[in-house]
């Protein structure tokens, strides 16, 4: 019997390195006059005392995604005191391709500009397709105690990293809601105009709800397996529009929403909002094993649950769009004990995404020595440390 021929036909697929910000220049950004960082594809640890500018760096990275960044700051608030309008220039390795991203505050308009390769980016989707950015910051410790608006924002930001056009659709919906409120308040009850607006809004509402449902289903599938030592989590979407999609087709749901809005016009004119819509949905997070709601868990446990969701999100983006997002994890290690910290570090190494971690003490990340880049942050300056 002849020996099997060497399998020359099997192609060697070059797996592109994970998406990574390989260079970032900051100009007049928060406490940075001018700063430049270079990074590789792996983990980056930023350490330094509180107020040194670690979170400012993460904020800069978060502005490489559509939206207002991880602090949700007003644009002018980001300017360095006495500096020019802030500006960021990043080099991103995305799917083996080198992409130049520039963003900053446009001094002539109250908006930020985004350029890809020097050309204005067409819509928010173009940026969201180029790279995904997901983050976990200490202000999210209150996520389960706050109103539903914060959880919807969290949900929609997760959706954005998986469905790049989600921000555009959600923005169109929000704008429609404001337009409708103006029409109802000023008594311009042109039924055809209101009907046209509600029809468009219903299309947006169903698109937003469908993306959220698919996101939550996708995350739940990944969360079922668990991530290292992190708790197993199950997500539930609570929302009338989302529930409609369980019972009927998207087209029927659009019709049903339009009918309801027509009836709600008088009531909505009084409240200035609407009694129905995707702006009223909520996200419920619970322990998949005990069923305990995140809202009833300790802060540390909540944080661990959010970490699990964040990691699931990274995997979901990879499964759907083929690339891993960049993770920004601000002060996540401080809440965990030594063993949990080590297992988190191992999980992050396994995940393979570029992750930016901050902490006051580099020893928190002792498990990452030799496997991460350590940068000391000191009053708007950066020092390499090894």
């Amino acid at each position: 019997m002849a020996a099997p021929a060497p399998s020359a036909a099997v192609p060697i697929v070059a797996v592109p390195p994970p998406t990574a910000v390989t260079g970032l220049a900051l100009k007049d950004f928060r406490n940075y006059g001018r700063a430049h960082i270079e990074a590789g594809p792996g983990l980056v640890v930023l350490y330094g005392p509180n107020g040194s500018g670690k979170t400012n760096l993460l904020e800069a990275l978060s502005l490489l995604a559509p939206g207002r960044g991880l602090r949700r700051a007003a644009l002018a608030e980001i300017d360095r005191d006495g500096g020019a309008p802030w500006r960021l220039e990043a080099v991103v390795d995305a799917n083996g391709e080198r992409v130049e991203v520039e963003t900053g505050r446009d001094p002539d308009a109250e908006r930020r500009f985004v350029r890809l390769f020097g050309e204005p980016a067409r819509g928010q989707g173009a940026l969201a397709r180029t790279l995904g950015v997901v983050w976990l910051v200490p202000s999210m410790d209150r996520l389960f105690q706050e109103g539903a608006a914060a959880r919807r924002r969290f949900l929609d930001r997760l959706a954005l990293a998986v469905f790049p056009d989600h921000a555009t659709t959600a923005g169109a919906y929000e704008k429609g809601l404001r337009e409708r409120a103006v029409l109802l308040r000023t008594g311009r009850r042109d039924p055809a105009w209101l009907g046209a607006l509600e029809r468009r809004m219903a299309e947006n509402a169903v698109a937003v709800a469908a993306a959220r449902r698919e996101l939550v289903n996708g995350l739940n599938r990944l969360l079922l397996d668990g991530f290292g030592a992190l708790p197993r989590v199950v997500l539930t979407l609570e929302g009338e529009v989302e529930a409609m999609l369980d019972a009927m087709s998207a087209l029927d749901a659009e019709g049903a929403i339009r009918d309801r809005w027509r009836w709600l016009r008088d009531a909505d004119a009084v409240t200035g909002g609407s009694g129905l819509g995707v702006h009223r949905s909520d996200l419920v997070v619970a322990d998949a094993v005990s069923g305990e709601l995140a809202a009833r868990c300790s802060t540390g446990r909540q944080k661990a649950m959010l970490l699990a969701v964040t990691l699931a999100e990274a995997r979901l983006r990879q499964a759907r769009l083929g690339d891993l997002p960049i993770l920004l994890l601000d002060e996540v290690a401080a809440h965990l004990d030594g063993e949990r910290r080590e297992r988190l570090c191992a999980t992050l190494v396994d995940l393979g995404a570029q992750a930016w971690l901050t902490g006051t003490d580099p020893e928190l990340f002792a498990a990452l020595h030799g496997r991460a880049r350590f940068l000391a942050v000191e009053e708007g300056r950066l020092h390499e440390h090894d």
Binding site: W193, A196, R200
Partner: protein, 202 residues
């Protein structure tokens, strides 16, 4: 210190789209440096436009004659009206050379936030044209070539609804036009493809 005459010119130039105070000064200077080849001919061209160009009472196009040359053209297909936001969208469609019907220039899109309602747009005129077509027994197709912006979509829905009673077919340009993209930024090939693959909505 510039003279009052130049100051006045710079002030007007600065109100033009795309020109700030700085670039207005640069333009004024460039004009002044070439009085015979640029400044005087431009002044004449402006006077001529101011004297002669008017808005077409039928479609909203700009021309020296009213109705405009497009509306008068006997070769044009009178059974199709393409609705656009602005005159430059009409120019873009004409450049593509594939469209042989008539136009209707709305003059913008519905926007509650900007206080722009149906009365502020040339909508009554469009409905009158649809009504006239029905009365004359002409089978009319209205093609909506509005931007894929939020306002453009609402305006499209609005027109579709208002046009229904006149029994005309309403279609819109095929998707594939980038989000937020206005007609006049599109190249001819894209416009042609979008026109050919238009989708019937009513």
């Amino acid at each position: 210190m510039a003279s009052i005459e130049i100051e006045r010119l710079v002030r007007f130039l600065g109100r033009l789209p795309g020109l700030g105070p700085r670039s207005a000064q640069r333009v004024a200077l460039a004009l002044m440096k070439r009085p015979d080849t640029l400044l005087r001919p431009l002044a004449d061209a402006l006077t001529l436009c101011a004297d002669r160009v008017r808005t077409c009472g039928v479609c909203g196009n700009l021309d020296a004659v009213d109705p405009c040359a497009v509306c008068r053209d006997p070769e044009r297909d009178r059974g199709t009206i393409c609705v656009v936001q602005e005159v430059d969208d009409l120019w873009a469609l004409e450049r593509s050379g594939t469209y042989r019907g008539l136009y209707h220039v709305l003059g913008g899109t519905l926007s509650a936030l900007d206080g722009r309602g149906p009365e502020e747009l040339r909508i009554a005129g469009l409905l009158a044209r649809a009504e006239a077509a029905k009365a004359e027994g002409v089978a009319l197709e209205v093609v909506l070539a509005l931007g894929v912006t939020v306002e453009g979509q609402t305006t499209g829905h609005y027109l579709a609804e208002r046009l229904t009673p006149f029994g005309c077919a309403v279609s819109r340009l095929a998707q594939g036009v980038p989000v937020g993209g206005e007609m006049n930024y599109l190249d001819e090939g894209t416009i042609e493809a979008a026109l050919r693959a238009r989708q019937r909505i009513v």
